[in-house]
Subunit: 154 residues, 2 copies
DNA sequence: TGCTATATTCGGTACATGTCGAATATAACA
DNA sequence: TGTTATATTCGACATGTACCGAATATAGCA
């Protein structure tokens, strides 16, 4: 039972899904999981593994693994329902997970550079490391601030 | 001819280099290129391929490829000198290359979501896509603004 | 032009990762 | 407890990527 209604629309959906994969793969999301995320974003409601298998053309094991991956990234949520073992998946509203990971990464980078600077005796090198640390910290703070502002909006 | 002066310091440098690799690999930088970047950051001046080979324990071909990669990322610069074929490498001051790539990526993501929204007929889904597009755009702008401010500093 | 120093490319190999279908586990329920 | 529907794990296989050493290319210079 496919989730897609007509032929003309399918092309657009496929394009969207493929493009989403193209953009997400460089962020470290495996191809299939990235496509699944695009698929979930376009789906009008929670979908089952069998939906995924039908519409994405992957095996059930692959679908299962990809869905769990997206859950780990907090990009998707599973929605169990009583009375059946069937699990439904949907895109999560916590779509800031990826960016939060970024801020964490920038923070760690700044930290490492700072520590590196402290352990460096050559002034020129030490100064460069300090400046870099500052650079990454400033950018981290900008993102962090934007994320906080967003969370508080509405 | 190694670039490292004494035994006690080596441990710290190695730690720094390894940690840098750990942080950069998730950004899509291959292990050896990431280690090389850490090494360049700690080096007090431009280094030759032979320095890299000696200090990083990789083959010359690997060093050559890794250095070229860093150049492509604009994380390193090569400095040719007349009178010899020897090339020296150093960390670049354009260490914002990675973050600029991020802003571009966020922009494309926002764009794709926006276009996806336009092609969606279901209101709830369409609205979600619009909100997401806005989210990524806001964050892109925050980073972009921080980068501009940094470039104009001093 | 030939010789030396150096960088780059190439072919093969090892390793990691994603995918599949089959096997297994588990929830629901008669 | 047995049967069915469903999800998950497992083992094998394919594919891609990074690495190495050898081969090749090229700059400098006698």
């Amino acid at each position: 039972m496919s989730n897609i209604t007509n032929r003309a629309e399918l092309e657009n959906r496929q394009d969207f899904i493929l493009e989403m994969a193209r953009l997400l793969v460089p962020w470290g999301v495996p191809e299939t999981a990235a496509r699944l995320y695009g698929y979930l974003l376009l789906s009008d409601g929670p979908v089952s593994l069998d939906n995924i298998v039908a519409d994405l053309g992957v095996s059930k094991s692959t679908a299962s693994v990809a869905a769990r991956l997206l859950e780990m990234y907090t990009l998707a949520r599973r929605r169990s329902q009583g009375g059946t073992r069937r699990i439904l998946f949907e895109a999560s509203e916590d779509y800031d997970g990826m960016l939060r990971a970024q801020t964490r990464s920038l923070e760690q980078l700044a930290d490492l550079l700072q520590k590196g600077a402290q352990a460096t005796r050559t002034k020129a090198t030490r100064d460069r490391l300090k400046v870099m640390a500052e650079f990454y910290l400033v950018n981290r703070n900008a993102m962090e601030s934007a994320l906080r502002k967003w969370a508080a909006r509405k």
